[in-house]
Assembly symmetry: C2
């Protein structure tokens, strides 16, 4: 059995005891979270979120890309969220990743060089601040009063806030 | 107290009973999930995922954008995943969204038109198939043997697989 089939069996069990129907699309807490895709982060458990509470946007690194901006625009403008939490984490695979080498490996293998940045970074705190700045610099995001950046410690389960200035 | 502060209090409680330390970055199940950011989807509960099991990539709509491709490239090439699940859902805010009107509203308000597509769609099944096709068409993703698309029903908690052909 593939892992996908195993997950579908888990879903059948989830559906049997499902109680979260009748919820509306706008997040009850008015919050959007942007976090890394890392397998060790269960964003709902980390923040104590229930179904219906918050938008959760995730990508490699939890960085603010144009696609993250697109999602935040829809989150704030169409679905009424006002607060943003950005979550990076210790032990991230994007930390110190050799972007040029990887792109060159891919080009050698498939004949085309990826036309997008991999968004690797050298310093965790610095990249959280850069992501906060990208949100604040975007003209398309209306609500920037509460844009806060955090580092999640995968060994303790604890979030630490990254201060705005170094 | 802001919603963000409330979530930080929840995190302090999570950290007190945290038992998921010592996990490695490569996902234990070799799976990457791409899902919509919608607040009603707790991807871990829906699929019975534990910390460490799978990458979770999320954006508005759960569509395969260039950023989703970037995340999948890192997931497969650097962290060893082999299977991909795509999850859209009933009652999605991206369904039937008037993309041109919204972009025009934004332009009127902030003076700049968003230079990116909002990725709205008209038909749920069709868009799942389009996302599966975008993954399969990408030269940068090495493992395409198991790329399966699903629609999550927000009223029943159940996933339904979208067949490859209409």
């Amino acid at each position: 059995m593939s892992a996908t089939d195993e997950l579908l069996r888990n879903n059948a069990r989830y559906a049997e005891t499902f109680r979260a129907g009748g919820l509306q699309a706008p997040p009850a807490l008015g919050v959007a979270v942007v976090a890394c895709m890392d397998a060790r982060l269960d964003v709902h458990r980390i923040l104590g979120l229930e179904e219906g509470d918050a938008h959760v946007i995730r990508n490699a690194g939890g960085v603010i890309t144009e696609d993250a901006i697109r999602s935040l625009v829809i989150s704030q403008r169409l679905l009424g969220t006002r607060e943003i939490l950005l979550i990076h984490h210790t032990g991230c695979g994007m930390l110190g990743l050799r972007e040029e080498e990887i792109k060159e490996d891919i080009r050698r293998e498939v004949g085309i060089r990826p036309p997008f940045p991999l968004e690797a970074f050298e310093d965790l705190e610095e990249d959280v601040r850069r992501s906060v700045a990208r949100v604040k610099d975007s003209p398309f995001i209306p609500h920037k009063e509460s844009v806060r950046g955090f580092i999640y410690d995968v060994e303790t389960g604890r979030l630490r806030e990254v201060p705005a200035e170094a």
